[in-house]
Symmetry: C2
């Protein structure tokens, strides 16, 4: 177990880093106490599979730290990522006991888990949980639909630009740099993972990243660090709405 994983073995809900964004966001003190009693932490190393599609899944969980992916696989091996799970995101579906997707830890990962049965009971009895879960699910549905537009209609270059913009924006909502200039992003995905997300081959991903670099839209340090000298120019390349999706 890594140091990062150790850290979250016994955290009180009140001190939890995802307290205000996760499924428990609206709970009051008493409700948190109830959650505290039944929750437990699980840690995974980068690359580890959390569950395989089709397997029994008797828990639901929130991502506390790290990144995980949801992926669908076809019989002949073609793969499509259908979700990117960042801290505070929720995994698992109440009312279903088999995983519908592969869940893979992309980085070291800590999850805050609940056994499914007790969680379903919580949903019935704690409206603050079920309503927050509804809200999060609606957000995810919006994100999935935005991704459908990307997959169905965007060019390879636009796809790459969109992915970088999305990750930068999610980063930003944590770090709160409102800046347009020299935004720095840490890409947590391999080229292959990006290709699985974007519906491309990894070669095309690599070529388009190189092209964006040559055109001065992005700068690359080392393997996974990206600087965006002018964020609005990246958004133009992404062909997103003029507002840059900040409304969503």
């Amino acid at each position: 177990m890594t140091a990062a994983a150790m850290k979250f073995t016994h955290v009180d809900c009140g001190d939890c880093p995802i307290r205000h964004r996760a499924v428990c966001a609206r709970c009051d003190g008493d409700e948190l106490d109830r959650l505290n009693e039944v929750k437990y932490y699980r840690s995974f190393q980068a690359g580890q599979t959390v569950v395989w599609s089709g397997d029994q899944m008797d828990f639901v969980a929130s991502v506390v730290s790290g990144i995980a992916t949801l992926t669908q696989t076809m019989e002949d091996g073609r793969r499509q990522m259908v979700g990117l799970l960042l801290p505070s995101d929720f995994v698992g579906r109440p009312g279903r006991d088999t995983a519908a997707y592969d869940v893979v830890a992309t980085t070291d990962l800590v999850m805050c888990c609940f056994r499914k049965k007790p969680f379903e009971e919580l949903i019935r009895t704690m409206p603050n949980v079920s309503q927050r879960l509804l809200e999060m699910t609606l957000d995810e549905l919006d994100a999935a639909r935005e991704w459908m537009l990307l997959l169905g209609r965007k060019t390879a270059r636009e796809k790459i630009a969109s992915l970088i913009a999305i990750i930068a924006r999610r980063d930003a909502s944590l770090k709160l740099h409102e800046n347009n200039e020299n935004v720095v992003v840490d890409l947590p995905l391999t080229r292959e993972a990006m290709s699985e997300y974007l519906g491309l081959t990894l070669e095309t991903v690599s070529r388009q990243i190189s092209a964006l670099r040559k055109d001065g839209i992005i700068q690359i340090q080392g393997k996974r660090h990206i600087t965006i000298p002018a964020f609005d120019r990246l958004l133009e390349e992404a062909a997103d709405d003029s507002d840059g999706g900040y409304l969503v």
Copy 2:
């Protein structure tokens, strides 16, 4: 207003055709009475736009009869359908007052509407509604993710076969013909609408439908009627899981 539209101007919830599948599915008699008081019907003709993306949307609704589509449009006019709304499906998002997508009636359409504010109150006070809505939203999220796989990884031929299979299956769940042979489907979409759904051009849609016909996978009567002589062969062409997705 068409005859079909007239029919649903004053229906009691107890007699509603989508009673057992819609957002009200779990409500008891008293709860239905409450809904009855505040609901109202709206009808649209085939081709009419229900709401434009970005417009004020002060109601939510269930599709009672007919078909509607949810579509996203990019600034340069590229369009991607992100949802196909069949009877019992829900439109609108509690907690948001601007439409995120164009909603268009593909056939004559009747919707059962609630003004947004009262509906948000219903959600707070009637767990049977909010929990059913959560369940339906989770189903939609699964459907969106299945669509992401189609958009990102399937070939044009597989996309067409998948679309026909999905419509046939949805039809089947109403008509309950368990049969594998000579399934008859009524395609409610133009080639253009199909292309917007599948992330293709309408020419490619037309070509692939012709190809499937030449290969004996489907037969076409008139413009929009399709017979599927062997449903399992269609599923093979769709490259879906062997179970044909009946689990989802």
